[in-house]
Symmetry: C2
């Protein structure tokens, strides 16, 4: 049974950096949003998915497209991407132990693998500093940007998982990366592996 470390994180908390450092320390792969999107493109998952759905749906290709051009056989684009992502996350988890950052992996996995669920957060001030310095965000109102991003993440997560994003009880460990420091977070998470 593979062990998967999932990292949910507030925007600007350094969760992705922590995920990469944990993976490096443990010698296992780390998949984040960018990498998973790249996999989606490279593997032609989209094509395969559409073909499969096409075989099983009552509402065939041209009819579905006629109803809504941005729909994929009755699913809207977001639902479609959710389904694809979920399958990719599950396939990655079946391959080997790994770290997965974001993508609601904590809610998607758990039946076939041992999951260590982590949530990383930090004070607003520390996150605002981080997104300006490290992510190259514009310094105008980073607070608003943080609020918008977190609101979207929370909404997306809740919509697809029926769980409350950032509620301590959903995770094995939640850490404040600003108070504890990135290195200590990496140590704590690695020690749970």
């Amino acid at each position: 049974m593979n062990t998967i470390i999932t990292i949910s994180r507030q925007f600007g908390s350094g969760g992705r950096t922590i995920g990469r450092m944990v993976a490096e320390k443990l010698g296992i792969p780390c998949y984040d949003a960018e990498i998973i999107e790249k996999i989606m493109e490279e593997t032609g998952f989209e094509k395969k998915f559409i073909e499969e759905k096409g075989e099983h749906t009552n509402m065939g290709g041209w009819l579905a497209r006629a109803f809504a051009e941005h729909d994929f056989y009755g699913q809207n684009t977001q639902d479609y991407l959710w389904t694809v992502q979920k399958r990719i996350v599950r396939e990655l988890a079946e391959k080997s132990d790994c770290v997965i950052v974001g993508r609601c992996a904590d809610a998607v996995l758990g039946e076939k693998e041992k999951v260590i669920r982590v949530f990383i957060h930090a004070d607003q001030e520390a996150r605002a500093k981080r997104i300006v310095e490290q992510y190259g965000e514009r310094p105008e109102s980073p607070e608003k940007r943080l609020k918008d991003k977190d609101k979207k993440r929370a909404g997306y997560y809740q919509y697809y998982t029926d769980l409350k994003w950032g509620a301590a009880e959903h995770y094995d460990v939640c850490l404040n990366s600003a108070h504890l420091g990135i290195d200590r977070c990496v140590d704590i998470i690695s020690s749970l592996y």
Copy 2:
């Protein structure tokens, strides 16, 4: 500046046990609900508090009591206990480094001390088992008992602190004691001291 470890916890999660073990490991005192109540009785805090309030309130003793027998000079019993508790928690924090379990200490402290805020939780099944085995609760519907106790704690906390109990972002570290085990929780918390 004293360092105070505050432990908030879901009912039946073993938070009190973890607090005591952390304190023992670090060689500092641990104050939990029972101990704080005992201090309240022993120090005659109640008497002192009433005398003080009596000097400053416009609505003197007999009049206040006439309006509501369970009121203490305009405060109801719960508000009164909250004020006393808050003062005792602050006095304890001024004395020395320590662990404080419950009593909203995480929200009360922070101005004059370095606070390490911890939240301990666990799966419902593990907590139900714990309260029957260790706390001697009756085995009939421990789930309902857990729900009631947590609801009360969350409501009390939110009412007096304006914060959401169990939201990861309020704490430095949140740990699932059932998945991680009591000993590992103790190790992680002690390592932050």
